[in-house]
């Protein structure tokens, strides 16, 4: 760092100037790198390290020196992958994703197209009211929906009762998946709609004029022009939604005490939470998190690879 002491314009030698130029980008990057290392890279490395360790108790386990941390190899991973509860939670999240992602994105696309259509009135109001649920934190919305699901306090069930309909509780084991999925769809549609709507707004209006001159209907414009052009946005929102699906935690955790049907390992992340904070086993929780993170990588990359030629082909 001798360069910083020398005056910038006068006697700077060529190599010194070159060094300074080489260092400049690093100086600009250093805050970002420092934050990345401290808050992302180190914690990740530490949890990977922890996932290979475990704590051994000796004797009765009472008193100061009864616990030692030891190397555990891949045992935590083997245990996680062989755990029927973990596998069941993965299966559950798979079904949940198949329910949530297409429904949510389908609705988001529909709403975006409706908002973009010329005949729509009260556009600002509709956009805000569809987006608003996204601004409600997942815990709050789960509590809200939880009240509506409980037959004893729900106004819906009161009406069903008055009408003489026998509607089963959404917390019964067959329906609880829909109860949780509904909250995610309710909360996520607005955000995805805004993303798709923004992409629709960017389409030049000449395209519509040309299509209309050729005698294309509004429906035709939507199907043949709008949807193909916003496919990249739909793919991006799909990837985000898939990742969110794999990490679903807040909704089932909030609903859990209201029902018998949501177990403490209902989703993979709930199992991580239970292992780490209920059972106090940070080590196997770390291993399970690593597995979930790797699965998320593979799924996201896999999905992008699958659709890239179709979506981004023209840019190649």
């Amino acid at each position: 760092m001798t360069t910083t002491t020398s005056p910038p314009r006068t006697g700077t030698t060529r190599p010194a100037r070159r060094t300074r130029r080489r260092l400049a980008p690093w100086a600009f990057l250093s805050p970002a790198i420092a934050l990345f290392v401290v808050f992302l890279a180190l914690p990740i490395l530490y949890s990977v390290y922890m996932s290979f360790r475990t704590e051994q108790v000796s004797g009765l386990g009472l008193g100061a020196d009864s616990r030692t941390e030891v190397w555990n190899g891949f045992s935590n991973y083997a245990q996680s992958l062989a755990d029927p509860e973990f596998l069941a939670s993965v299966g559950r999240v798979g079904i949940y994703g198949l329910l949530v992602v297409p429904t949510m994105l389908g609705l988001a696309l529909l709403f975006a197209l409706l908002l973009d259509s010329r005949r729509t009135r009260a556009r600002g109001f509709s956009r805000i009211s569809i987006f608003l649920p996204y601004a409600v934190p997942a815990v709050i919305s789960s509590l809200l929906w939880g009240f509506l699901y409980l037959p004893g306090v729900s106004p819906f069930y009161y009406v069903f009762d008055q009408l003489g309909w026998d509607v089963p509780s959404l917390f019964s084991s067959d329906l609880v998946m829909f109860a949780v999925a509904n909250i995610a769809v309710w909360g996520g549609t607005g955000f995805n709609m805004v993303v798709i709507y923004t992409a629709l707004k960017a389409i030049p209006s000449e395209l519509y004029e040309a299509a209309e001159l050729d005698g294309c209907t509004q429906k035709g414009i939507a199907l043949r022009i709008k949807i193909p052009i916003v496919v990249p946005s739909i793919i991006m929102t799909s990837v985000f939604s898939m990742i969110a699906t794999l990490q679903v935690f807040a909704e089932p955790t909030t609903l859990k005490p209201l029902s018998n049907t949501i177990s403490s390992t209902w989703t993979p992340l709930m199992k991580v939470y239970r292992d780490a904070f209920v059972r106090g086993d940070l080590y196997s929780a770390a291993a399970t998190s690593v597995i979930i993170a790797l699965a998320t990588f593979v799924l996201s990359f896999g999905f992008l690879r699958l659709v890239q030629s179709r979506a981004f082909g023209q840019e190649k």
Binding site: L42, R67, P257, N260, S263, F297
Partner: protein, 448 residues
């Protein structure tokens, strides 16, 4: 170009799952070193000693104010916690980190073995007078010593279980207060026959502590210490008897299968579709909050019995106050917690402000002179409660209560949902094997 950016974003987002685990452990790494855990109180000669106190008892600061006014040298600051489980999670994290723990900690009895096993609670046997022990019922004192010579906490309150019922509805239906479980089952049938929406109670798969109390009443003790090994005895005859009994009532449909402490259950207490509650001595406060419309209609009686000639009860809830291993002033902290839980003035304030049922017997008579406000119709409430409390059997908690309790939630949740008596019995087996396997996998000495 766009693809690579997209993939990078996806990759970055994918790491958030990792972060969830990473963050929790990183504060363990970062903050280590600043605390000098284990330092004894001999450095405390100069200036007043400041102690922090983690508790979730309501209005505890008002009780602590009494102490602070009289003891300028030992000042205690209350740090409000959300409840028993989150406080223990926070404490264990602080212990692992090496700093950040309070001096004084409220701990539920079932958490004490877990805390001791993680070296979170200090042994204060040397700082607590010998006369203190004699003021507590043996079963309660056993909960803070774990049957050893050490003392890990001073008991604060206990939760002997009792039967709460709507006296007005009982009268209307011509029911007598059930004294045995057989009579309780008959009463449950009568209630449900009178109105198919009305239940004498519910089997709650979310309240493991409640089921533990019922099992304790039947004579179960889920853990035990044989020499230098733990034993797990959840699948004993006593627990099975309780599970079988409740499974039968749920299968029959005369006892509800929905969890307690839900908005639905609160509403049911208030609108008279739940007309009974097997609860503990702290129930009046809960009923007052959840069922204000039913004021003056509830009464309390002893639990229905398995053997009417040998009355027994279990405990649900209750906690003790301990000193953490990170406290630099264990002596002063022990002095404070002894005062808090055994001094007459302090116990009076605890009853009045925090609404607890004190465990210290010599202070009970004065502190519990009046019945709780919501039970002002039952003059002898605390007299009766005292008699019932004396019949509580002893129960040993193990170092992995959390594992057993979460196994209870999952296994009994499934059983209650299916309304099958056979599954209630399977659930007991699941709890036993999960708890035993966990102890073995962690390396505890376990005898079978």
């Amino acid at each position: 170009m766009r693809l690579t950016t997209g993939t990078k974003v996806a990759a970055l987002l994918a790491t958030t799952a990792l972060l969830a685990a990473g963050c929790s452990s990183s504060d363990a790494g970062d903050s280590a070193g600043s605390g000098d855990a284990g330092d004894s109180g001999d450095t405390a000669a100069a200036g007043p000693v400041d102690l922090t106190f983690w508790t979730w008892a309501p209005n505890m600061e008002k009780v602590v104010d009494l102490w602070n006014a009289e003891n300028p040298d030992i000042q205690v600051t209350v740090n409000k916690q959300d409840g028993g489980d989150p406080a223990v999670t926070k404490l264990l994290t602080a212990i692992k980190a090496g700093s950040g723990a309070p001096d004084i900690m409220q701990a539920e009895y079932q958490k004490i073995p877990t805390l001791v096993s993680s070296d979170a609670l200090a042994d204060i046997a040397g700082n607590v007078g010998d006369d203190v022990a004699s003021g507590f019922p043996e079963g309660v004192w056993n909960g803070v010593t774990l049957g050893s010579d050490a003392v890990y906490a001073v008991p604060q309150d206990s939760g002997p279980m009792e039967f709460y019922y709507r006296a007005d509805v009982f009268e209307e239906l011509g029911l007598d207060v059930p004294t045995t479980w057989e009579e309780f089952a008959d009463a449950a049938r009568t209630v449900n026959e009178a109105d198919s929406d009305m239940y004498l109670g519910t089997f709650s798969a979310t309240d493991a502590g409640w089921f533990t109390g019922l099992s304790q009443q039947a004579g179960a003790s889920w853990w035990g210490i044989d020499g230098d090994a733990w034993s797990v005895d959840i699948d004993s005859e006593a627990t099975k008897k309780v599970a079988d009994y409740w499974g039968g009532l749920v299968e029959e449909g005369v006892i509800d299968n929905k969890p307690m402490y839900t908005p639905e259950w609160n509403a049911a207490l208030n609108d008279g579709t739940q007309i009974g509650w097997l609860s503990a001595v702290w129930a009046p406060g809960v009923l007052e909050g959840n069922a204000p419309d039913t004021a003056g209609t509830w009464e309390m009686a002893a639990m229905p019995q398995w053997d009417a000639s040998a009355p027994a009860t279990g405990n649900w809830g209750g906690s003790a106050t301990g000193v953490t291993t990170q406290s630099e002033h264990p002596e002063q902290a022990a002095e404070f917690i002894t005062w808090l839980n055994t001094d007459q003035e302090a116990v009076n304030a605890l009853v009045k402000e925090a609404g607890i049922y004190p465990a210290y017997t010599p202070a009970q008579a004065e502190a519990l002179a009046e019945p709780p406000a919501f039970f002002s119709n039952q003059e002898n409430f605390y007299e009766l409660a005292g008699e019932i409390a004396d019949t509580a059997g002893s129960f040993t908690y193990g170092p992995n209560v959390n594992v057993a309790f979460s196994a209870y939630n999952d296994a009994f949740g499934k059983a209650a949902e299916s309304k099958s008596q056979a599954e209630f019995l399977d659930a007991v087996d699941t709890m036993q094997s999960t708890t035993l396997d966990d102890l073995k996998n962690s390396g505890f000495n376990v005898s079978e």
